[in-house]
């Protein structure tokens, strides 16, 4: 690798945009290069010195109001409400139909509540300075740590080489039960991967949902239920899910 290449690529390295192979090449060049080493140091310093949070602007309230006014007013009558109305009015037929719908609606509510709890657990983990109970990037330390603390053996795979750094593990509570959380980092973003006992043994593909601005991908595999929660964009979160699954599947086969 030449200095001219490294001089550009070291920015991609700082931004966490390189795969492990290229990252290694750039690091190897920079380490032994009197011209590139100070550059990497200098730009890392710059990146860290940027008070990013304070460089944001907040939209004035008047602008927000102006924009909201241009949107048609939302109708606040929920579907559930109208279903219940049907219930009260009820002939036998509409009662039967409405009952089916109510169950479907309540089920959706149940899902929403679960997602809400997962999101809250993610937010709590970021707020309370309690991201990890066991802090190590060694998957063979994290996995046994969960023994006896949760009633599952969560799969812990190290995805550092794939761009997702394993930070450690944490015990959390969701829906009244202890769950394992495996914590990863992508650039400056934290990904909490919650693992609980799954309801069904069939595998479901990951679906993207969002709650309070966080992206959540939820899937089941091998009797376990997974929730990956983060503020990274949906595509990168899917990339995380894919890489996790790819690393998890062969291991479970042995």
């Amino acid at each position: 690798m030449t200095c001219n290449e490294a001089e550009i690529l070291l920015h991609a390295l700082l931004d966490g945009e390189l795969d492990a192979g290229h990252a290694h090449q750039v690091e190897a060049h920079v380490e032994n290069c009197p011209r590139c080493a100070p550059q990497l140091r200098a730009y890392r310093e710059l990146q860290q010195a940027m008070p990013v949070a304070q460089l944001h602007f907040t939209a004035p309230a008047s602008l927000r109001q102006r924009i909201e006014k241009t949107l048609p007013a939302p109708r606040r009558v929920s579907n559930r409400r109208s279903v219940l109305k049907g219930f009260v009015m009820g002939t036998a037929l509409s009662t039967a139909m409405a009952a089916g719908l109510v169950i479907a609606v309540f089920r959706t509510d149940q899902d929403q509540r679960l997602l809400g709890e997962v999101t809250s657990a993610h937010v709590r983990s970021l707020q309370a300075n309690h991201l990890t109970d066991v802090q190590t990037s060694d998957q063979h330390t994290v996995k046994p740590w969960f023994n006896g603390k949760v009633d599952i053996a969560p799969p812990v795979v190290d995805l550092t080489a794939k761009g997702f750094t394993l930070l450690g593990g944490r015990l959390d509570y969701i829906d009244g039960q202890a769950v394992a959380s495996i914590v990863y980092r992508r650039r400056t973003h934290v990904i909490n991967l919650f693992v609980t006992q799954g309801g069904s043994s069939e595998s479901h593909e990951a679906r993207l949902q969002t709650m309070q601005g966080y992206n959540i991908r939820r899937w089941t595999a091998q009797g376990l239920q997974f929730f990956a929660v983060s503020d990274i964009n949906g595509e990168e979160l899917q990339e995380f899910v894919d890489k996790f699954e790819a690393a998890f599947q062969p291991a479970s086969g042995t």
Partner: protein
């Protein structure tokens, strides 16, 4: 470079070719507005932040953001991606480049610095007073905002999208409409300029 024709409409990867799904009746319309509200309004501060850095004027930024949300609502049916934020940024950027660039007072703000002039200077000047040992003094956010805002486009845009709005290279490339390699070199140049300006900043550190 300056005479490059403005792109007409939204030449975005997310935009579908034809206008399908015309709102059929009030319910669909309401539903669309509600989905749009949930998807787009949470990004208002981010869109406004980008507008402030691109236009460097509070009133212009507000107008551009309002226009951005109007257009986004209109085109929301054709949005096929998963990430709303870069999509809004691309719309905002087109607005800033289009209508606002025609107004004389912001023309300079949106003009692209010719890449040639910038490329003439090496990224890293070793003869400078040992830049590797020169420490960056802590500066208050106001100063850094100004230093970022003073960077010439397209470098300002690149660093704002990466550092402040936290987009990936791929997303920046889609928003700006250039290859990822160009994003990378612009970012390298932007950081080089920002660091020089930061070090050159006079006055006692905060």
């Amino acid at each position: 470079m300056l005479d490059r024709p403005q792109r007409q409409g939204l030449a975005l990867p997310w935009k579908a070719g034809d206008d399908m799904m015309a709102a059929n009746g009030g319910d669909a319309h309401q539903d669309k507005a509600r989905r749009f509200r949930d998807a787009a309004l949470p990004h208002l501060d981010d869109v406004y932040t980008l507008a402030r850095y691109l236009l460097r004027d509070t009133a212009d930024a507000e107008d551009a953001v309002q226009e951005c949300y109007l257009r986004a609502l209109r085109y929301f049916d054709t949005f096929r991606g998963t990430e709303v934020k870069p999509w809004l940024f691309a719309i905002l950027r087109n607005i800033c480049r289009g209508e606002f660039a025609r107004r004389s007072r912001v023309t300079l703000a949106m003009d692209d610095t010719t890449d040639d002039a910038e490329d003439a200077a090496p990224l890293w000047q070793e003869e400078q007073a040992s830049p590797e040992t020169e420490m960056l003094h802590q500066r208050d956010a106001e100063t850094i905002r100004r230093l970022v805002a003073d960077l010439p486009n397209p470098f300002r845009e690149a660093i704002v999208l990466r550092e402040i709005n936290d987009l990936s290279y791929r997303e920046i490339a889609d928003v700006v409409g250039v290859p990822v390699g160009t994003v990378m070199s612009r970012l390298a140049r932007a950081r080089s300029m920002l660091r020089k300006a930061w070090i050159a900043e006079e006055g006692p550190p905060t």
